[in-house]
Symmetry: C2
Subunit: 288 residues, 2 copies
Amino acid sequence: MPRFAYVNGRYRPHAEAAVHIEDRGYQFADGVYEVVPVDDGALVDEDPHLDRLGRSLGALEIPWPLSRANLALIGRELVRRNGIRDGLIYIQVTRGVAPRDHGFPAKARPSLVMTTRRRRPLPAHLFDVGAKVITIPDIRWRRCDIKSIGLLPNVLGKEAARRAGAFEAWQVDDAGFITEGTSTNAWIVDAAGRLVTRDPGAAILSGVTRRALLALVAGQGITVEERPFSLAEARAAREAFLTSSTSLVMPVTAIDGAPVGSGRPGPVATALRQLYAAHVDAEAGRAP
Amino acid sequence: MPRFAYVNGRYRPHAEAAVHIEDRGYQFADGVYEVVPVDDGALVDEDPHLDRLGRSLGALEIPWPLSRANLALIGRELVRRNGIRDGLIYIQVTRGVAPRDHGFPAKARPSLVMTTRRRRPLPAHLFDVGAKVITIPDIRWRRCDIKSIGLLPNVLGKEAARRAGAFEAWQVDDAGFITEGTSTNAWIVDAAGRLVTRDPGAAILSGVTRRALLALVAGQGITVEERPFSLAEARAAREAFLTSSTSLVMPVTAIDGAPVGSGRPGPVATALRQLYAAHVDAEAGRAP
């Protein structure tokens, strides 16, 4: 079956999907993106993803390329055409094509690119043994709350993790606090049994899975603290885990080669993983 | 006359010059660039620009897309085809096209895009009255020594300058020191008559014009200090100016609305502008 991408108003065969070399996304990283999971053919957390897309666009003063409703329609059509049952929709919006000049162009129409991808299976048994993370200095810009395509530091961090045999790299700020992973949010269960994850702000992207999990946890009798936590705290934590739209809730069992807690997925991460799976089931329309 | 761009091995009409939507430059800002001035049909400071391209590529472990000599040949051919007498060559190299995944792809061939542009005249009398700059917090990443295409903070800074009626925005680090402009290097002549510009390091891009000017100044009897200078120092300076391949040596006569020194281009900036112009004359093969 041919695979299609949507590019500025047209469904194009993926291999021929192209943008102009003076698209400001290509020359300036002047754009934003979202990744919406698809599960059993249904979009998971569609509204929060599109809400965040709107916030990112607003922060950069890029207009919506078309209405939010039409954007969602195109996503669904792409899922249908590409026969995606489990996977994701990738949405990228840039400020558009204009002769190269740093400031905003007087007239440019935003570019819209959408693709889909089938779910890539994670390494076998990863959830059973837990993921390893390394830590690296957070060298990113100061507006990580904007989901921009300026991901070069994240690329370098993920590559460093891979070379170290790790799943992810947790980034550490100048004060010694963990901000987040290169494409995931970071969590710990501290020595007192409290669930801790960094408070939203310019230092992290407020993850959709992160927020969904916080909402699910409310009323479960678990104390939650949204605050910075240090690398030392993480090393001494009972448990650690990470969240993202594609990793869901993933136990972290080693930080920089040292085991976290027992060195095996802990009870809280395991319970939250099940809690989140039930949320995805509901989004996908599966009976509980 | 049609205008051409060079894209991955082919000379293409500019309007049809395109890259794949999964080029990592478009999805991750995973690439670097250079701008080489063209004066009287000659490339200015070709070697230092290509040296720096090599350093940027090396820092990101992106191979040269083709030999340095061939890259220069293509630049000259593009200048010829596009009939550029005074202008610039823009060179962009990215890690190439691969299915979206943060880490480096196992096999991707680097993408190479080259364009040319005619010189855009600067606002009339700008050199005579001097440029105004504003100051903004430096929110960029920690590897500004790499000339990456991840320029979104620079875009936002330049736009802020434009809205304030200024030519450039000087970025200020957490310690109160000026790093550089969004696309230019920053200089002052301090109260003691010393020429001061930030030392090269991860906080700034080591500008080719900056380095050429430092070489020209050596032996002119001017004391030069490559060190951080504060916003307070800049405000109290006798003179200020900025440098870049397209602005050359441009006097700065106002910072955040307050005049620098006399509020008019000073003698040092004017002399250095002439010194640099003679360097460009030599590069262009014009008789002194």
